[in-house]
C-alpha cells in the first residue's frame, strides 16, 4: 500500500511541510505561527487544525458568500473547503501564504457549486422552487443597504461571468490587492486588471438599469 501511496502523489514536493524534519510541534496556542499549526495538524493534532479553521473561516465564508449569494448551501461549501484543506495540507509548499491557499480553495469550491446549481436548473426546469430568502429578522436593515438595493446589487453580481465575478469578489469586496488576487486565482496581473475593468463596466451598466439606479450614485 505504501508504494501505491507514493505513486498517488507524484507531485508532492520534497520541501513540503510534510517532509520537514522539524516536526516537533505538538502543542499549539493562539500565538502559534502558520507553519507550526500546519506541522502540528500533519502530526494529527486536531486542536491545531481547529485554530486554522478559526483563523480563516471568516475569509472563506465571506468569499463563498460573495460568489454564491445568500443561501443554505453556503454552510456546506465552507465545510467542503476545510475538508479539502485538511486532506491537502501535505501538498502545501509554503511559497504563498496559507490564506492564499485557503481562499483559492474557497473560490474553486464556489465555482463548483455554481456549476452544480446550473446543472440542477437545467435538469429540473419544471422546478417551481422559490428563491431562498433569509429569515425576516436577520434581514432587518441594521442601518445598512436596503433590501431592494441589496437585491439589485446581488442580481448585478450574479449576472457577471464566473471569471469576472471571482475578480470582483476578491478585489473589490474582499479587498485583496491586485497581486494577491492574481496569486489566488493563478492568473497574470494583467488578466486581473482586464477582468476587473470588464466586470466593473458590466456592474455599472446593470446597476444603472435597475429601479434602484440611485445606487450608482452611491446613497447607501
Amino acid at each position: 500500500m505504501s508504494v501505491a501511496t507514493t505513486i498517488a502523489y507524484p507531485l508532492t514536493y520534497p520541501l513540503s511541510f510534510a517532509d520537514r524534519e522539524v516536526r516537533t510541534v505538538s502543542r499549539v496556542d493562539a500565538t502559534s505561527t502558520e507553519e507550526q499549526l500546519i506541522i502540528a495538524t500533519l502530526d494529527g493534532n486536531e486542536d491545531a487544525f481547529r485554530r486554522i479553521v478559526e483563523r480563516y473561516i471568516d475569509e472563506v465564508s465571506r468569499t463563498v458568500t460573495g460568489m454564491l449569494g445568500a443561501g443554505p448551501e453556503i454552510d456546506d461549501v465552507v465545510q467542503e473547503v476545510f475538508i479539502k484543506l485538511h486532506r491537502s495540507l501535505h501538498t502545501f509548499r509554503g511559497e504563498a501564504s496559507l490564506k492564499t491557499f485557503v481562499v483559492r480553495m474557497a473560490i474553486n469550491k464556489s465555482l463548483d457549486a455554481l456549476r452544480k446549481r446550473k446543472r440542477m436548473r437545467w435538469l429540473q426546469p419544471w422546478s417551481n422552487e422559490d428563491p431562498w430568502e433569509p429569515p425576516a429578522d436577520d434581514r432587518s436593515d441594521r442601518g445598512l443597504t436596503s433590501k431592494e438595493e441589496m437585491a439589485a446589487l446581488r442580481h448585478a453580481v450574479d449576472k457577471l461571468p464566473e471569471s469576472q465575478r471571482a475578480v470582483v469578489v476578491l478585489r473589490l469586496i474582499e479587498d485583496y490587492s491586485t497581486e494577491e488576487t492574481a496569486r489566488i486565482l493563478g492568473v497574470p496581473y494583467g488578466t486581473v486588471l482586464s477582468r476587473l475593468k470588464r466586470g466593473v463596466e458590466k456592474l455599472k451598466k446593470d446597476i444603472g438599469n435597475t429601479p434602484d439606479a440611485h445606487l450608482s450614485g452611491g446613497d447607501s
Binding site: G69, P72, D75, Q79, R87, V169
Partner: protein, 126 residues
C-alpha cells in the same frame, strides 16, 4: 455565526471606476448575506465534518480511489504499447501480401474486400 464585524484593510475608493459607495454597499451586502446564511458555531460544524470525512478516508473509499488513480497512467501506457505493437504487426504482415490495401486497412488488419468476395457465400473461407 459570530457577530463580529469584519474590518477591511482599506476604505473603498473610486480607483476601479465604481463609486466608493457602491463598493461599500457590496461589502455590506456580503456581510448581511453571510450573517443570514451561516448557522451558529460554524467552526464546530466544520470540525465535525472534517472528523467524519477523515473516518471515511480511513474506511477505505478514498484508498480505492487513490489506487485507481495511481494505476491509471501505467495501464494507459501499457495499453498504448500493446496497440502500437499490434498495429505494427498487422502492417508488417499486410506488406508482404500482394493485395492492394490502404494503410488503414493494413494497420487494422482488415481482409481485402472485393465484389467477388462479397458475393461469395462460402463463409468458411473467411
Amino acid at each position: 455565526m459570530k457577530k463580529h464585524k469584519h474590518t477591511y484593510s482599506s476604505q473603498p475608493s473610486e480607483e476601479h471606476g465604481l463609486s466608493a459607495d457602491v463598493v461599500q454597499s457590496l461589502r455590506k451586502m456580503v456581510d448581511a448575506e453571510r450573517q443570514s446564511s451561516m448557522m451558529s458555531m460554524p467552526e464546530e460544524r466544520v470540525m465535525r465534518a472534517v472528523r467524519a470525512a477523515s473516518r471515511r478516508h480511513v474506511d477505505g473509499t478514498e484508498v480505492i480511489e487513490r489506487e485507481l488513480i495511481s494505476w491509471f497512467r501505467p495501464v494507459v501506457v501499457a495499453g498504448l504499447v500493446v496497440i502500437m505493437a499490434l498495429a505494427f504487426y498487422n502492417f508488417d504482415l499486410a506488406r508482404n501480401n500482394d493485395h492492394h490495401q490502404t494503410a488503414t486497412e493494413m494497420v487494422l488488419g482488415l481482409h481485402p474486400v472485393t465484389v467477388a468476395s462479397a458475393y461469395d457465400l462460402n463463409f468458411d473461407s473467411h
